[in-house]
């Protein structure tokens, strides 16, 4: 893929790009389908239910049926909604979530673009999602979605700060923003060990970034019914849903890369197992953690959420930077 | 019932309960017979019977709170007297029955004839003493939210005063008690309710302050677990309500229920008050006409009256002047008529 990127643009390689993107999209859709299935199953099991089991064998086609239903639904739009923005919002939410995957190295060879500032690219693009959410909240002409939109704007912007701060430690350790290099730097020990504080902050902030329990305030179905996408249905709603899970995919990938050593095996002796398997394993672990938390936790209140971000997480993240900086300086012989 | 029954030891209690049951059984049989005979008898008679049975059944429930008493209080007291008490109670019941049949409205204030007055006074004294003791016991049993210490003392004093006032009759009653003979006890008509002294106290407090005319009637409602009931003049109700709540001795700080009843010739609003300080209930009724029904709002006295008054307005059309936000609560704002009125006609028959 990198070789393709170096070539001069032509019809041929453009087609290749499109094809690769389509393949990635298909993989993603597959992931989303089964992430939802997995989520429902896991939460069901934890709640002593058996989860989806009626569509297809073991209920494996449940999500397919759901999505088909969503696609077949009538495209409704509230009467006084802002037409243009209402249409734009799901795209605005989905596109960056998809675009961030371009820089993710899934294994040594499977990567679309090896950017020197991959991490920065990710952070910059993922910040756009909030625009989609707030646009949706505004354009729907619904008070619940407005409140939901504003809540999520506040929340996502607030948590972006500790999220970014928490990875600075990793960047300091590695000395690079290139995701591939970050993984390679974890050959000896995964970042989760030296950067545990950063990892903890990142996990929490990521949870908030993804609007998932216990930070699912923008959607908070018991308060705001469905938050910013309360007026969306059918295909547009599917876009939001997709954005949410794709974003989760992105976040899972990032966490695996930054802290869990990407495609590296637990022990070099296990290196015969292909990197992609390791990657998927670690990644699934994170996804499982998501669902596990969702099955257990209640939701925070919005003011608690904000003060938690600014008064707890941010100081911890800053402290982590300081600590890492001191340690790194010490190792480099500055003291 | 006689006070002896109100403070038994647990074993006695069980025994008493069993006896009460047996008695109630007998009584019911009797009543059933009578009912067959006189299906169309005047309601007063039926009521009297039911009341008798009712208060008899009451024995067990009444006895219960005392189970929390300390052993000293359960005390020597009435153990020996238990048997005779039962006999007497039975006799008293019969007497009451006849008495009530005699004067259907005997429950109304001041209706007692001269002959009965004596006996009633005696009974009152007895009950008052018992009540005082019981109040004490209850207080000591603990759990009162508010400290009712000195108020309790006052109540006791009042009871004592009353006892004195009825001295002669009381003495006579005591004599009767001493002999403890069923035949003689039959002379004591109508065992007074355990709540009689409370009722007297309420009446006294209110008439002292507002004069006699504000009370249209006062009686013990035997059907409702002997709750003292006052019928209060519509015009003065608001200030009396205020007094009922704020007076140190009455302290009815809790409004349990409020609702209206359409009696076809009049409307009544029923209030059930409770005093956590004194652990006493009080029922108040305020009458109003059907055509222009209005009862002063007590929302500013008890905030809990707010929705209940709205509901009463909604369903019965009784207006509560002074209510801050009197509008329909259960039915839509544009509903026609007041459904709980007896002459209400559905405008939509199809439903």
């Amino acid at each position: 893929m990198n070789a393709l990127l170096q070539q001069a643009p032509s019809w041929g390689n453009t087609l290749w790009f499109i094809l690769a993107a389509v393949i990635l999209l298909a993989v993603l859709l597959g992931f989303v389908t089964y992430a939802i299935y997995f989520e429902r199953k896991v939460i069901g099991w934890m709640q002593l239910r058996i989860g989806p089991n009626r569509v297809g064998p073991l209920g494996l086609l449940q999500t397919v049926a759901d999505v088909t239903k969503l696609l077949l639904k009538e495209d409704t739009r509230p009467k006084h909604a802002d037409k243009a923005l209402f249409t734009l919002a799901p795209i605005l939410a989905y596109a960056p979530a998809f675009a961030v995957l371009a820089v993710m190295p899934f294994t040594e060879s499977i990567q679309f673009a090896d950017l020197g500032i991959g991490l920065l690219y990710y952070i910059a693009l993922s910040g756009i999602t909030v625009l989609g959410v707030i646009t949706a909240g505004w354009a729907s002409n619904n008070k619940y979605s407005l409140i939901g939109g504003l809540r999520s704007a506040a929340q996502m912007i607030s948590y972006e700060v500790p999220l970014v701060m928490s990875v600075v430690g990793v960047v300091l350790l590695t000395g690079s923003m290139n995701l591939r290099e970050i993984v390679e730097a974890q050959r000896d020990v995964w970042n989760i060990v030296p950067q545990f504080i950063g990892f903890a902050v990142f996990i929490i902030a990521a949870q908030a970034e993804l609007n998932r329990t216990p930070f699912d305030l923008p959607e908070a179905e018991s308060e705001l019914v469905a938050g910013y996408h309360v007026e969306y249905s059918g295909f547009r709603f599917a876009m939001f849903m997709l954005a949410e899970y794709v974003y989760m995919f992105g976040m899972g990938t990032l966490i695996t890369i930054l802290f869990l050593g990407g495609w590296l095996p637990i022990h070099p002796a296990l290196g015969f197992i292909p990197g992609i398997v390791w990657f998927v394993l670690k990644f699934s672990l994170y996804i499982f953690l998501q669902f596990w938390i969702r099955a257990t936790m209640p939701r925070l209140r919005v003011d608690q959420l904000m003060s938690f971000a600014w008064k707890v997480l941010l100081p911890i993240a800053l402290f982590n930077i300081l600590l890492t900086a001191v340690v790194v300086s010490y190792q480099n012989g500055m003291f | 019932m006689s006070e002896e029954k109100r403070r038994p030891t647990p074993e006695e209690k069980a025994q008493a309960a069993a006896e009460a049951r047996a008695k109630a059984e007998a009584l019911r049989k009797l009543r059933e017979q009578e009912e067959q005979g006189a299906e169309a008898a005047p309601p007063a008679q039926e009521e009297a019977q039911a009341q008798a049975a009712d208060s008899q059944e009451e024995v067990a429930p009444v006895a219960k709170p005392v189970s929390e008493m300390t052993p000293e209080e359960k005390a020597a007291a009435k153990k020996a007297a238990a048997a005779e008490a039962i006999a007497k109670a039975k006799a008293a019941k019969e007497a009451k029955e006849s008495a009530q049949q005699g004067d259907g409205a005997s429950s109304a204030e001041g209706a007692d004839a001269e002959a009965k007055a004596k006996a009633a006074a005696a009974a009152k004294a007895k009950a008052a003493a018992a009540a005082a003791a019981k109040a004490k016991a209850e207080r000591e049993a603990g759990g009162s939210p508010a400290d009712g210490g000195d108020d309790d003392a006052k109540a006791k004093a009042a009871a004592a005063a009353k006892a004195k006032a009825a001295a002669a009759a009381a003495a006579k009653a005591k004599a009767a008690q001493a002999t403890g003979d069923g035949a003689e006890a039959a002379e004591t008509p109508k065992a007074p309710s355990k709540n009689q002294p409370y009722l007297d106290k309420y009446v006294l407090r209110i008439t002292e302050k507002f004069g006699k005319e504000v009370l249209e009637a006062s009686y013990i409602n035997e059907l409702a677990k002997e709750v003292p009931t006052l019928v209060i003049q519509n015009e003065r109700w608001h200030e009396i309500a205020q007094f009922l709540k704020e007076d140190g001795q009455l302290a009815f700080e809790y409004l349990s229920d409020l609702h209206g009843v359409d009696y076809e010739d009049r409307m009544e609003v029923y209030y059930h008050l409770y005093s956590y300080k004194n652990r006493q209930s009080l029922a108040v009724k305020v009458k109003t006409s059907r055509e222009q029904s209005s009862v002063p709002s007590v929302m500013d006295v008890w905030n809990g009256a707010n929705w209940n008054e709205r509901e009463t307005f909604d369903l019965l059309g009784i207006h509560f002047p002074g209510h801050k936000d009197l509008r329909r609560i259960l039915l839509p704002d544009d509903w026609v008529g007041y459904p709980l009125r007896k002459d209400y006609v559905q405008y939509d028959e199809e439903v």
Binding site: W45, M46, L48, I50, W292, I293, A295, T296, M297 | -
Partner: protein, 137 residues
């Protein structure tokens, strides 16, 4: 954090515990013997005493009788008997008052229909509804 961890531990333990889901439409749901389901009506037992119609709190029972075909016999026999299951609350009072157990409860409870009209059950339907009839009434 301890509370959160405890909670997570609890849910994790539940992950492998036995599930409580019933496979209802596939496996019929057994109801206890006293269950109050749709009534079964046996016309031969009915003496047209009207008690069920009178006790019904929602007035969902309508019945008519006709003279006994055998002129020697006194009394009536049932002609029509309808229960409107739009109204019926399955409160069990009709079966309680019936002196001859002509109307009894069954354990059948599936009443869903596509049309409201189907909820009017007539004598024949109620007579045919004779499976899982309740023993004790």
């Amino acid at each position: 954090m301890l509370g959160l961890a405890k909670g997570l531990g609890y849910t994790f333990k539940k992950l492998t515990e036995k599930k409580v889901t019933h496979f209802y439409p596939d496996v019929p749901f057994p109801m206890p013997p006293r269950f109050r389901g749709i009534q079964h009506f046996s016309p031969e037992k009915c003496i047209v005493c009207n008690q069920c119609a009178r006790i019904c709190p929602t007035e969902c029972i309508q019945l008519t009788g006709k003279p006994h075909p055998d002129p020697d016999k006194k009394g009536k026999i049932i002609d029509t008997y309808d229960i409107n299951f739009e109204l019926c609350i399955l409160c069990d009072l009709c079966t309680e008052v019936c002196p001859t157990e002509a109307i009894v409860m069954t354990n059948n409870f599936e009443l869903a229909a596509y049309s409201r009209d189907e909820l009017y059950k007539n004598l024949k339907w109620l007579d045919d509804n004779n499976t899982n009839v309740r023993e004790e009434n």
